[in-house]
């Protein structure tokens, strides 16, 4: 009985096994085809594949920059341990309203040139208007800047005072950015890297997907390993590394003024360390999303990001 059943079942088992093998092979081939498709597609039509990826992200709602949200969460944990409010904020960021997508590290020519209109001795409401929603890091409120109003009659205008109006105002810019030259209250500043302005502050066409995106700083060309000097006196607020900015650091110069340096090859200061204007804080590199060695510099005044071109010098060419 046992033996017979065994004999009868044998051919069926064999057939089933072969079918399993075929399915296995088919699946393997399908996986290979899929992988090759994506791999070759990305090599031959990078733009097309990128835009498909973008569309898929839109549909599944993955437009939130998870990396930024996760980094902010990790940062909060580092500052004061695991707290419910940070987790809540993270959930709100990921599952809540989506921020307008603004990014860009891309190299192209600046589209707007600031023009001098004259000195305006008033504080704009722009300082209160800024939102840190787009900032990759948390910003303290611009209290110092607000408290400084109304401007004293002294020769040095208060921090945040609009000195020169940027062309076209700040209307076209994303929330939290201004084209105006704001006063830094007579702070002694140093050009961190003297180089050619590769890419200015403002909107430009993305060289990969052709989208019109915002660039929140300036890209200054330089050689890998050249020193990056501190924009002013202050202390190292944070140091970090991510896929887009590479190795980066931010200096806090007090009065709400901060400078941010990205794509560094190496950072030679520690978090919390005091630095003097002109002191070497890092070396130029091409870490993160960069096409070559350069310094991506951002300047912040209160909760506003300003055009660094107002405050640093470039070589002409």
């Amino acid at each position: 009985m046992e033996y017979q059943r065994g004999v009868q079942r044998a051919p069926g088992t064999k057939r089933a096994k072969r079918r399993d093998g075929d399915v296995e092979l088919l699946r393997l081939l399908w996986s290979l085809a899929l992988f090759l498709g994506v791999f070759l597609g990305k090599q031959i039509y990078p733009e097309r594949v990128m835009s498909i990826g973008e569309e898929v992200r839109q549909v599944i709602g993955a437009t939130v920059d998870m990396e930024e949200s996760l980094a902010a969460l990790g940062n909060a944990v580092g500052l004061h341990g695991v707290e419910l409010k940070d987790i809540g904020a993270f959930c709100a960021e990921v599952f809540g309203p989506q921020a307008e997508e603004i990014s860009g590290e891309e190299v192209s020519v600046s589209t707007f040139q600031p023009t001098v209109i004259g000195r305006v001795g008033c504080i704009t409401d722009a300082i209160e208007r800024g939102t840190p929603a787009l900032a990759p890091e948390e910003e303290p409120p611009a209290q110092e800047a607000e408290e400084a109003s109304p401007p004293p009659a002294a020769a040095v205008p208060a921090v945040g005072t609009v000195m020169i109006k940027g062309e076209g105002g700040s209307e076209g810019l994303p929330e939290g950015y201004t084209a105006d030259r704001l006063s830094f209250g007579g702070m002694e500043t140093v050009t961190p890297v003297l180089g050619h302005l590769n890419s200015g502050f403002g909107y430009r066409d993305h060289p990969v997907n052709g989208k019109y995106l915002f660039h929140g700083g300036v890209d200054i060309s330089g050689n890998a390993g050249d020193p990056i000097r501190a924009f002013g006196d202050g202390y190292v607020e944070y140091i970090g590394e991510d896929a887009s900015y590479g190795l980066y650091l931010q200096l806090d110069h007090g009065m709400g003024i901060k400078s941010f340096y990205a794509h560094c090859k190496q950072i030679c200061v520690k978090k919390g360390q005091t630095v003097e204007a002109g002191e070497t804080v890092a070396y130029i590199g091409a870490t993160g999303r960069a096409t070559g060695p350069h310094l991506h510099l951002e300047l912040k005044c209160g909760q506003l990001r300003v055009d660094p071109a107002w405050y640093v010098e470039f070589t002409q060419s």
């Binding site: 699946r27 992988f35 944990v77 896929a243």
Partner: protein, 187 residues
């Protein structure tokens, strides 16, 4: 593909191939490392409790560990808690390291996600073990099911709210995935 007591699904191999192709770009590598360490946490705890592992089946969605014998409730409680505990520990350790914030964030969010008291997740297993410790076996399933339904309904409500108000379907996707996988893994 089978290597000793570890079996890897095709999906996971494909995922691994993609990870290698991307060479650690973006979040994928961090997420992979966090998941790996999470599972190693479970396995290490099982090793400490001298429970031998029959098979570890790795899929693109997580690892399933088959054991030589059934665990008692306290044992399962400890084993299930070990994974999220590892992630929590990593989050606290890496949050202090320069450049480690993203990895810390990944770990913390992974720990919290896994602690959701829903079916296949560690939180679900923890919940059943805790319930089993102070009520009869028959009741455990009733309460667990009820709590799960309540939580998932609340999440689904929030998910729809988020989709309709903000146009963000992420929470709804996640809830749907949890709902589908609710009966996927038996304790």
């Amino acid at each position: 593909m089978k290597l000793g007591r570890v079996e890897v699904s095709r999906g996971a191999l494909l995922l691994l191939a993609w990870l290698l192709y991307r060479r650690g770009e973006g979040l994928a590598a961090g997420l992979f490392a966090a998941c790996l360490l999470h599972e190693l946490g479970h396995i290490f705890m099982l090793f400490l409790m001298d429970i031998s592992v029959k098979l570890i089946y790795i899929t693109a969605f997580g690892a399933k560990i088959c054991l030589e014998r059934m665990m008692t409730y306290p044992e399962e409680l400890v084993a299930a808690a070990a994974g999220p505990a590892v992630n929590l520990l990593l989050a606290l350790l890496w949050a202090k390291r320069p450049g480690g914030q993203t990895f810390a964030g990944i770990n913390l969010s992974l720990a919290i996600f896994n602690l959701l008291p829903v079916g296949m997740l560690d939180g679900g297993r923890l919940l059943s073990c805790l319930l089993a410790l102070w009520m009869e076996e028959g009741q455990v399933w009733f309460w667990r099911d009820l709590l799960e339904r309540l939580l998932l309904s609340a999440l689904a409500g929030l998910g729809w709210g988020s989709l309709l108000c903000f146009g963000n379907p992420a929470l709804l996707w996640m809830t749907g995935w949890l709902w589908m996988g609710r009966r996927g893994k038996n304790p």
